[in-house]
Amino acid sequence: MVELAMGIMLGLCGVGAGIALIAGIGPGIGEGQAVAAACEAIGRQPEAKSDVTSTMIMGCAIAETTGLYGLIIGILLIFVAPGIFSGVLKDTVLALK
């Protein structure tokens, strides 16, 4: 029974990590649109290329942070959460005995 509970818990941690990584989809689409718009701006004003590129890099990095949050949650769910949850599970089983 404990093995089954452990298996379910590990599986759910994996599913949770996968769901957390969905957060990476939005920033990718947003970054693509932002850079495409910046390209048009550079095409209209080539002399502002340096400024536009600098602002664009910063903007893309800010957008990407959202994806990184998801990645960090995923990593924590894979590497940290199973240890914590299995400890809680063992403690509960011992308390019930």
Binding site: G24, P27, G28, I29, E31, G32, Q33, V35, A36, A38, C39, E40, I42, G43, K49, S50, V52, T53, S54, M56, I57, M58, C60, A61, I62, E64, T65, G67, L68, L71, I72, G74, I75, L76, I78, F79, V80
Partner: protein, 141 residues
Amino acid sequence: MAKLDPTVRKETEYIAVWVIALSLLMEAVFLLIGKWTPAVLWGNLAGAAAAVGNYLLLGITVAKAASGPADKVALRVRSSMTARMLGTAAVCALAIGLFHTDVYATVIPLLFPRVGIAFRPLVDRKRGKTEAPSEGSDLLD
């Protein structure tokens, strides 16, 4: 090897300075709370390298997209982001899973570039204040 765009170099240097400073601060915090081990240091190094590398590759992609043809730019940036995200995840997973680095010390540096960007307006304002008198003095001369 292609020459790095000066704007990308400047921005990456700015972020790298912030990542190094915040990494030192994080090491100090780990020391203070008595949780410092060599695994923390290696994790910090892996995370910081992944963060700066990710930012550098982002800059290169954006600079290339800005100087290249406008069609398919969105697709190129999107695929670059996917590749960079997978690379970052692979570096962190390898460091934690294979080299047994500290998990928190590995993932926290990934957020340091965001802190540097948040302080960017302050730094720019300070730079503007120091540069303004010299421009003004030129006019007065």
